[in-house]
């Protein structure tokens, strides 16, 4: 009995290695955070709109169309980095992009958008971060894909850079009507 036990370390070892191999081979981003909101209705909110004088009412915005919700701020450097990619996404047919301007200065945001271009069809002002709390925002920038039924299908934490753009884009296309 005792002698058979000697082979035990190698069995445990190979088991652990198998797990490591599996995790390395599958397409996986260790920094990715799942959201409890996935497959749930997008949280409702009302806020000031940055672009026009009307109130921003989420139920009006999230209807009939796939929506990309992008939390951003002018103080956030990675947001500037991902901005060209957000603009590229805005050229996609059949979707619209909603910006949530998180804890920011409206004047500065308008200047920022004039300088870099505006990919957003509407922007909600989240001056005290309440919308961010409701959506479980972890850190800026953060981007959600909401389908035409208003269900959150995908969440990306961090900037949408060259590296992750294609992956993100495929998620958008998959959820387009």
């Amino acid at each position: 009995m005792k002698k058979q036990l000697l082979i035990f370390p190698s069995i445990v070892f190979f088991f652990i290695l198998l797990v490591f191999f599996y995790l390395l081979i599958i397409d996986r981003d260790p920094t990715e955070l799942p959201s409890v909101l996935i497959e749930k209705k997008a949280p409702r909110f009302e806020a000031e709109s940055l672009l026009d004088d009307k109130k921003f009412i989420s139920t009006e915005e999230f209807a009939n169309k796939t929506v990309i919700v992008n939390f951003f701020a002018t103080w956030c450097k990675p947001c500037r980095e991902e901005h060209p990619y957000i603009k590229r996404l805005s050229n996609t047919k059949g979707i619209k992009i909603i910006g949530i301007n998180y804890k920011d200065n409206p004047q500065r945001t308008i200047k920022w958008l004039k300088e870099l271009g505006n990919p957003y069809s509407n922007i909600a002002i989240d001056s005290n971060g309440q919308i961010g709390i409701d959506w479980g925002v972890y850190g800026l920038p953060e981007t959600f894909v909401v389908n035409a039924e208003g269900i959150i299908k995908y969440r990306h934490v961090g900037p949408i850079t060259k590296k992750v753009y294609n992956n993100f884009y495929s998620k958008v296309i998959a959820n387009r009507e």
Partner: protein, 643 residues
């Protein structure tokens, strides 16, 4: 130019390593000795040349080298240009290989008439390890990669790494990790060669394990010091995966150092030592894998590159598969029916071994548990401090109790009733000191009290072993009747006692205050009044900083310290760091961090009162010192072996 030289000699060292592998397999004594001399020396020389050419490229800021461009800048101070060599993934692999070849050289030096097959086999295994790491470095992380055109200046560096403690932290750690490779090779060799050849392989392993363990202890300590002074979070240990990756081999090393004593004295526990030697090195490499593959996220993660991960993993599979299967087949030859009493010195060593392995296993489980969960359920979870504290502390408590009593037990025979008699003085002393401590500080905290008692338990046991040697003048009587203890053991165990004191004090009775302060605001923490006197702009060599000036008063309204924490901005790296300011004495640290803020709103100031922190560093230093003493006495032994 220097980069080309470095690259060339890296390739050349690969040739030498392959040469060493092929030669060590030959059976002809004389030619093996002659050619191995060429192989081992050539390997060492080439790796040295590679290493110093990379260092030269960093020092002269040769931005045609990608590695220098990505990790350096002309404004970086010279010391950090040098330490910058191993402050990145590629360079640190080169340092790893350098340490590996140095150990390789020392193994070669052990050749004599009697141990030819054993050392040759060890050198063969060592060559395999070296080849593996050289291939990895050359093909997936070559530090000499060039870029055209050369850049005018580098991208900068991580300002957090600009710290003297961090400059020596990796080399010390690597001596530790890589030192275990020698133990690994020796134990493979011991299992592979004919067991008829009576070779005391454990005596070969011991000095290497001691060296690895001693330097690993120092490396971990410097890492903690860096975390404490540089990160500004008020703590010195965070159960980060990378910290765990260094802590696990340390635990196995601790078990190994002690069971090697039992093997030497009693020839028992041999297969156990073989297994520990294999696991200690495998865990060191798995630690590297976890850090470098990006499979886990950690504050230390260098580079997210799955190709590197796959490479190391394949390497680990071969290395671990071969060694563990060999162990499964061969180690039964090392089992013996030599059972011993629970209440003997070797019994206490075995108990402590088992406890160390248990701690190691629970740390390992906690580190990879998020990965297991993700592999099987696709959920992400995070395992943190509460898990590690609640699993390791309860196992550590009996381990420390046994550690106190172990050295005073005698080998072989055990008598439970005598133990009580023997340990009675130290129980008494511990009780007295603990009561005094309690009366002075009134620490109403169970865990804190347990920690303090354990610390004094170790300290009083050690002090009491010294007493007979100090009082009794009769040398003859001492030699015959009093057990002799090595200086290394006494110093290192005392160090552990002080370490526990420091750990307990700083983790149980830490006080934290986070407040927003404007100039001339006052605050207080544990009997100290702190006034924010002024704030100044200062300019460093490659940074700009805001420096706060805090005056600390005690209860008698005497000023005891002026603390000047800084909030630094490094323009090149576009990165801010906080420089902590600390006032230390033997009883406590006062620790101030200057956070974000401005002149109108005030600044966020974090103040910590950290009791007994200095004893952690003193304890760690004594452990290191004790280790050095033990290495010294074991080197004498190995010299005798090579004669």
């Amino acid at each position: 130019m220097s980069a080309s030289v470095g690259n060339f000699s890296l390739w050349l060292s690969l040739c030498f390593a392959i040469f060493q592998f092929l030669i060590s397999r030959k059976k002809n004594n004389r030619s093996v000795l002659k050619f191995n001399k060429i192989a081992v020396n050539g390997l060492l020389l080439c790796v040295l040349v590679s290493f110093f050419s990379l260092m030269y490229s960093h020092v002269i800021s040769d931005f045609s080298v990608v590695n220098v461009f990505q990790n350096s800048h002309t404004t970086k101070p010279l010391l950090y240009k040098i330490s910058g060599v191993w402050g990145n993934h590629e360079g640190s692999m080169l340092l790893w290989i350098l340490v590996l070849t140095i150990f390789n050289y020392f193994i070669y030096k052990l050749y004599n008439q009697k141990n030819f097959t054993f050392i040759s086999k060890s050198l063969e295994i060592q060559a395999i390890i070296t080849i593996g790491f050289l291939l990895f470095t050359i093909f997936t992380s070559n530090p000499f990669e060039r870029m055209i055109p050369a850049q005018v200046n580098g991208l900068g560096f991580n300002p957090l790494l600009q710290d003297p403690a961090l400059a020596i932290h990796p080399p010390l750690l690597y001596i530790g990790y890589v030192g275990f490779s020698a133990a690994f090779s020796f134990s493979i060799a011991a299992m592979s060669i004919n067991t008829e050849e009576k070779i005391s392989w454990y005596s070969y392993i011991k000095p290497f394990v001691l060296t690895a363990w001693t330097f690993l202890s120092a490396g971990i300590a410097f890492g903690s010091i860096w975390a404490y002074y540089e990160l500004g979070w008020g703590g010195w240990w965070f159960w980060d995966p990378v910290e765990n990756a260094s802590f696990m081999p340390w635990l196995l090393g601790t078990a190994l150092v002690h069971s090697l004593i039992a093997v030497e004295k009693k020839k028992s526990l041999q297969s156990w030592v073989l297994l520990l030697s294999i696991l200690a090195f495998l865990l060191s490499v798995i630690g590297t894998f976890l850090v470098r593959s990006g499979i886990l996220t950690s504050v230390h993660t260098f580079a997210l590159d799955p190709a590197r991960g796959i490479y190391i993993l394949v390497f680990i599979t071969l290395l671990g598969g071969y060694s563990l299967i060999l162990f499964g087949i061969k180690s039964k030859n090392f089992l013996n029916k030599h059972y011993f009493s629970f209440f003997s010195r070797e019994g206490s060593i075995l108990v402590n071994n088992v406890l160390m392995i248990t701690v190691c296993a629970s740390v390992f489980l906690g580190t990879i548990y998020p990965l297991l969960v993700e592999a099987f359920s696709n959920n992400k979870i995070s395992v943190g401090e509460p898990y590690f504290n609640s699993t390791t502390i309860p196992i550590m408590i009996p381990a420390i109790l046994v550690m106190g009593i172990g050295p005073i037990l005698s080998w072989n025979r055990g008598d439970a009733t005598k133990i009580f008699g023997k340990s009675f003085p130290s129980i008494l002393l511990t009780t007295v000191i603990s009561i005094i401590f309690f009366c002075v500080y009134r620490p109403y905290n169970m865990l804190g009290l347990v920690g303090i008692i354990l610390a004094f338990w170790i300290i009083s046991n050690i002090l009491l072993t010294l007493v007979p040697q100090l009082i009794l003048k009769n040398k003859k009587f001492i030699q015959d009747n009093i057990p002799k203890y090595s200086n290394g053991m006494i110093i290192a165990h005392l160090g552990i006692g002080l370490l526990i004191l420091g750990i307990t004090g700083s983790s149980i009775w830490q006080k934290e205050k986070i407040t927003r302060m404007k100039v001339n605001d006052k605050t207080e923490i544990h009997n100290y009044n702190i006034i924010f006197k002024e704030i100044n702009k200062i300019t460093g060599q490659n940074y700009l900083a805001l420096q706060g000036n805090f005056w600390v008063y005690n209860k008698k309204k005497n000023i005891i310290a002026e603390l000047k924490p800084e909030n630094r901005f490094y323009p090149v790296a576009n990165n801010s760091t906080t420089e902590v300011s600390i006032h230390t004495n033997l009883l406590r640290d006062l620790y101030i961090v200057l956070g974000e803020g401005d002149i109108n709103e005030g600044w966020v100031v974090r103040i910590y009162y950290n009791p007994l922190v200095i004893w952690i560093w003193i304890g760690a230093f004594m452990i290191f010192l004790g280790g050095l003493f033990s290495i010294k006495s074991n080197l004498k032994f190995i010299k005798r072996l090579t004669l």
